[in-house]
């Protein structure tokens, strides 16, 4: 973990999606995150409102660049969306625990922006020659959310999509796709990232089946580095910190009722 000062190479809207941006940063020397880890990005360089950095997954890593894909959600991400190419920007990272490695087929389950962090995992699998045994299940509100699909397909990952409004792919929830997939005979390792209710659904679908499921959780964060105790996640063993004990947890560790209630 280090506080890096780097450059914005691009901060643009992916074609066809209004409320998302692809942020391309110059990769600082020595910055070597693993899939599932995240960074705390300074949205406001000089002022103090918005005050805090915001946590984002790494969506892609190249020798010279770091990619983050984010949704403009509130004041912090709106400010970040105003930042221009060529501006200096600080970030803290890499932070948190990564997705545990596993042999055998991988099932990536993404809801909305959750696909961002899983894209980096898919890239790593592709580098290891394992993209062919990976499947992405992607769920979104409508077809605009599906802009991630091609990125996974390019890596050679089989993708299955669902939209809540039925405008593309299967009509329904990504957890419906998951149940279908688990009825096939393989025993995959599941990696999931998305809204709280979706992740609880992933746990429901995998519990007691002997299938290992890892979930990446999102909480509000202040420090991102274990200093403030602000990112508490309710687990069966009491509160754990999303930024240092997570953001990736084994699904069975989480107290899902409390997590969904507080999210």
């Amino acid at each position: 973990m280090r506080d890096y000062d780097t450059l914005i190479l691009a901060n643009r809207r992916p074609a066809g999606v209004d409320d998302c941006r692809r942020l391309l940063l110059r990769r600082p020397a020595g910055f070597t995150p693993r899939p599932g880890q995240f960074i705390q990005i300074e949205v406001n360089r000089a002022g103090t409102d918005p005050l805090l950095r915001r946590p984002f997954s790494i969506a892609d890593l190249q020798p010279e660049t770091v990619t983050v894909i984010y949704r403009v959600q509130g004041r912090g991400t709106a400010r970040l969306a105003e930042r221009r190419r060529g501006e200096a920007i600080r970030f803290l990272g890499p932070l948190g625990k990564d997705y545990p490695a596993a042999d055998g087929p991988c099932l990536l389950v993404a809801g909305g922006m959750g696909a961002a962090g899983l894209l980096f995992l898919a890239r790593r699998l592709a580098e290891l020659g394992r993209a062919g045994s990976a499947t992405l299940l992607l769920g979104c509100r409508d077809r605009n959310g599906l802009f991630f699909r091609t990125a996974f397909q390019k890596l050679g990952v089989r993708t299955v999509c669902a939209t809540e409004d039925g405008s593309a792919g299967r009509a329904g929830l990504v957890t419906d796709l998951l149940r279908n997939e688990l009825n096939r005979d393989r025993k995959p390792v599941v990696y999931a990232c998305g809204p709280a209710a979706m992740l609880a659904g992933v746990h429901e679908a995998t519990r007691g089946t002997g299938i290992r499921a890892y979930v990446s959780l999102e909480t509000v964060m202040a420090c991102g580095s274990g200093l403030c105790r602000g990112c508490a996640v309710p687990t069966r063993a009491g509160y754990r910190m999303a930024c240092t004990d997570g953001p990736v947890f084994a699904a069975e560790e989480i107290d899902w009722k409390a997590y969904v209630e507080n999210a």
Partner: protein, 296 residues
């Protein structure tokens, strides 16, 4: 190039290499933050408050951002005194700066903790008299109560003893005098300001703990006022705590009457701000009034 002035000072009997103090609850016990900042460039570090019994902390969300501020309701989450004494205290001496252990509780608990910590690692103790996130015994409010509590702790330890006062605008002078009478060696003025934030969509409080404490740049003018009033009341050295995030805020703290400058919330959003602050303090020491370059 002129020689940089020595910023070292003795604060409440503790030797600090400069006036910058990492505040309780924003720097852990040094283990995490030393990866992030050069600990050897700070004057001291106050550890996260520990209580006699472990505390799980408040339900999430525990953090809400407000304009230039942060409202937290952590709820004094900590592993309890036994674990602190066994696992954390012994390592404190190997950190490259003096560490002040923050403790909270009722009289008998505070005395037991203070006695056990004497000689066990910390260079001093800070009694957290004001956590807006917990009630009852942790929150004495009357000057007489505070004086009685601090007298009890004073009898239990020979370590340098600081009282971290609540941000009581009307009685801050009385509280400072109570701490002085009780035999404290220094003050931290003050803690977070009691606060609330609402989620307008859900029409309910945004924090799991309902209420919390406000910190960050938004509170600086209030902390300056509190430090100024405490300074008028007593001669004890003061750590000014609340809202410092840049050179101007740090210098203002000294002008208000503080000897040391606390850095808290800034560690979360601009952890390297201390570099610029140290430079400004050096300039402040060399230049007389009216000659300091304003920050561009």
């Amino acid at each position: 190039m002129s020689k940089t002035p020595d910023l070292a000072l003795r604060f409440a009997g503790i030797k600090l290499r400069n006036p910058l103090v990492l505040l309780s609850g924003t720097a852990g016990a040094g283990r995490e933050i030393k990866k992030l900042v050069e600990l050897g460039r700070f004057g001291a570090l106050c550890t996260k408050t520990v209580t006699f019994q472990p505390r799980p902390g408040n339900p999430p969300p525990r953090i809400a951002e407000t304009p230039s501020g942060l409202v937290n309701s952590i709820g004094l989450e900590n592993p309890g005194f036994a674990r602190f004494l066994e696992e954390t205290a012994p390592g404190l001496r190997s950190l490259p700066l003096p560490v002040i252990a923050s403790i909270a509780g009722n009289g008998p608990e505070l005395s037991r903790m203070a006695e056990a910590l004497t000689g066990a690692g910390p260079a001093g103790l800070e009694i957290n008299l004001s956590c807006p996130n917990v009630g009852g015994a942790f929150n004495p409010t009357a000057p007489t109560e505070i004086e009685r509590l601090l007298r009890e702790v004073r009898r239990a330890t020979g370590l340098p003893l600081l009282a971290k006062l609540p941000p009581d605008f009307y009685r801050i002078g009385d509280l400072a005098r109570a701490a002085e009478t009780a035999g404290c060696d220094g003050l931290t003025v003050a803690n977070t300001l009691p606060a609330m934030v609402f989620d307008l969509k859900l029409r309910k409080p945004r924090l799991g703990g309902i209420t919390g404490g406000l910190s960050g740049p938004a509170v600086l003018p209030v902390s300056l006022y509190l430090v100024h009033r405490a300074r008028q009341a007593v001669g004890l050295p003061i750590i000014g705590s609340g809202g410092v995030h840049d050179a101007d805020g740090a210098v203002s703290m000294l002008l208000a009457g503080a000897q040391a400058i606390g850095l808290g919330t800034v560690n979360f959003f601009r952890p390297l701000a201390y570099r610029e602050i140290l430079q400004a303090l050096a300039e402040f020491r060399t230049a007389g009034p009216g000659r300091r370059k304003p920050t561009p």
